[in-house]
Amino acid sequence: MQPQGIRLSSKQVMDYLSSMRIDVVGFADLEDLRAIIPDSYLDERLLHGMSSLVVLGKRILTGISWSRHLRNKQLINGASMLLLDTASNKLASYLESFDEVAIPVSALAFDFEYATPSNVAPAGQGSPLLRYGAVAAGLGTFGLNMMVLTPEHGPRLHFAGVLTTCRFPRAKPLDRELCPGIEACGRCAAVCPADAIPRKARISQSLSDYRSIDEEACVKVSQPFGYRVFQEMAAEIASSSTSEKLWEGIYNRTASEMYNEITAVKEGVVSGCSACMDVCPVGANYPQIKNSPHRQRDLPEPVQRVYSDVDVEVKHNGAYERPRITWASWLQRRLSKRE
């Protein structure tokens, strides 16, 4: 028998989504979500009148985590996000066929009004609403870099969602941290090309006290030709004082990569770097991934830590396959002149 006020069961929703290649489904009651999400990420314009957030997760193919070519990984992850958006749209229609009200929440839900594109960092896993929703739905816990780690896939998945008036049985959050933290792991922090993940904590400090992400640093590599680069490039062009400087600002590899990004990469605009995802030992598919010759080169030696009387710090390695086209050389020159 359905609990009172619930017209559609979780199983019906999961059965509906199973044919759409969605790997993970969770149901977050909005009261539970409001209890854990920081106010800065809480947008009542979206949540007003809704009861639940259905969180959809699509795993990153093991082959993509295994492989080397960053831009191919970026594009294929984009295809995955498009699949999520299609599924969430269909689910919203399905829910409304049961006289509920539903709104899809895109895997690429950028908020330019109250936030910046950096709020889908790290690595474009999903907006804060979706990630906190996943945690509230009991799908996983936050890792060192504020990605959601799941038992089945680690952090190697993307999220989309559907806000709805439909109510579902309240989920229980996971009762244990999945992320081992800096002292027992710290691999994501060691490899991050942007050094955007905390590498230092007090000895024995609780993970929940120090996990975070430097979003602006992350997007330098995870959105290699995203809005920030577009903005910088447009400003550079607009401030050109001669026609040759104007031409130099336009006719360069960054412009052609930007064009490729807009026309072909599209949804993959946020998934330009997945170094942290690739090295995370959490998840049932990690034993397969770690056999990749490329993953073995990420951290050929165990993560090194330096201890003081009170702190522990992970040594930064950077990624072995560093994103090659993060900054155009002209942009680097101009940034270095400003500093």
């Binding site: 193919l61 594009l75 294929i76």
Partner: protein
């Protein structure tokens, strides 16, 4: 059941699944065997190490799309076909991984400027498809399949699964004996003459820069060219007139919906006579009969050289390939020698 029999059965399962999700044809090649014949950096190892097999498939462009008079709608449909290729590639990879293997889909639209300054695909999908026995690379380096001629797109993924590999099939393109694609090309990018005794495999070619004038006429390269024209203008250009040009509309749509961004010319595809499933239907469409006047190519064989006479696209389509050149015409001191014409 021996390993060989098991492999044959699994291959049949992959083929059945792939056909179920929408592929027209599917083939398999060994990563090692293919890598040994690749002359440049477009090898599987550029994407990843540790895989054993290349799975390659084709998806045809709708006959309805190819029948249309409207090039712009065809451009849009071609991108829908490519979107389908991407989704199918991902779907097959997903399935392979559910069977316990590892699969790496390759994106068909990514242009790698590390491989080549003007951009190159991650693998040369046409050569992979020919190697895996799906068809033949023709006179203009388009890939021809027995069923749909050159009116196909190709999808590829790498996997650690091992199956029986496929072999090349006999050549499909008659080369200069046909020459239909060469005579209609708006930008004369396809060879118009060859040694009359030579195999098409020795002279098949495409002048990529010229082809991109038509096929990528709304791409970043055209934008660079237009901007350079505007910068170099000998006198101030009338701004309102410049931005009223339909080129900017086409460019905006290309950014918005990919229409025409990488595929905006299909002249060679309209006229390819190969394709036992679609060619007869396509050529029965009245509008398609106008592509080559009288339906015949003018051949000349003299002094051991076989040549065909270029005619270009029909007059009602010439403007499609020269819209961006209107900026040149605003400045009569500059003319473009590559302007497509029917002559």
């Amino acid at each position: 059941m021996g390993k060989l029999a098991s492999a044959a059965t699994f291959k049949e399962r992959i083929v059945a699944f792939a056909k179920d999700v929408g592929v027209d044809s599917i083939g398999f090649a060994s990563v090692d065997d293919y890598s040994s014949v690749v002359p440049n950096g477009q090898r599987p190892s550029h994407i990843t190490e540790g895989m054993n097999s290349i799975l390659v498939f084709t998806k045809h462009n709708l006959t309805g799309s190819m029948s249309l008079q409207d090039v712009n709608t065809q451009s849009y449909n071609s991108h829908l076909a490519l979107d389908a290729v991407i989704d199918i590639t991902h779907h097959i990879a997903d399935w392979l991984e559910s069977e316990g293997f590892i699969a790496v889909p390759l994106h068909p639209e990514f242009i790698d400027e590390d491989l080549k300054r003007s951009g190159a695909g991650l693998l040369d999908f046409k050569h992979v498809a020919e190697f895996a026995g799906l068809g033949h690379i023709g006179l203009n380096l388009n890939f021809l399949t027995p069923d749909y001629g050159s009116r196909v797109y190709i999808g590829v993924l790498l996997t650690n699964a091992v199956v029986h590999y496929d072999r090349r099939i006999p050549d499909l393109c008659p080369g200069m004996k046909c020459g239909r694609c060469a005579v209609v090309c708006p930008t004369k990018a396809i060879p118009l003459k060859a040694d009359s005794d030579a195999s098409v495999n020795s002279y098949r070619d495409l002048h990529q820069d010229k082809c991109s004038e038509g096929a990528m006429r709304l791409s970043i390269r055209t934008l660079f060219r237009v901007i350079r024209l505007l910068i170099d203008s000998e006198k101030p250009m009338p701004i309102q007139e410049v931005f009223a040009n339909k080129y900017w509309r086409d460019f905006w749509i290309a950014l918005n919906s990919k229409r025409g961004a990488n595929a905006a010319c299909f002249e060679c595809m309209y006229v390819c006579p190969v394709g036992k499933t679609d060619a007869r239907t396509l050529f029965s469409v009245p509008y398609r009969k106008w592509d080559i006047p009288g339906g015949r190519v003018e051949h000349t064989v003299a002094d051991g050289i076989h040549s065909v006479k270029h005619v270009g696209p029909p007059q009602d389509r010439v403007h499609e390939y020269s819209r961006h050149l209107a900026f040149v015409n605003m400045n009569p001191c500059k003319r473009d020698e590559n302007e497509p014409q029917r002559g």
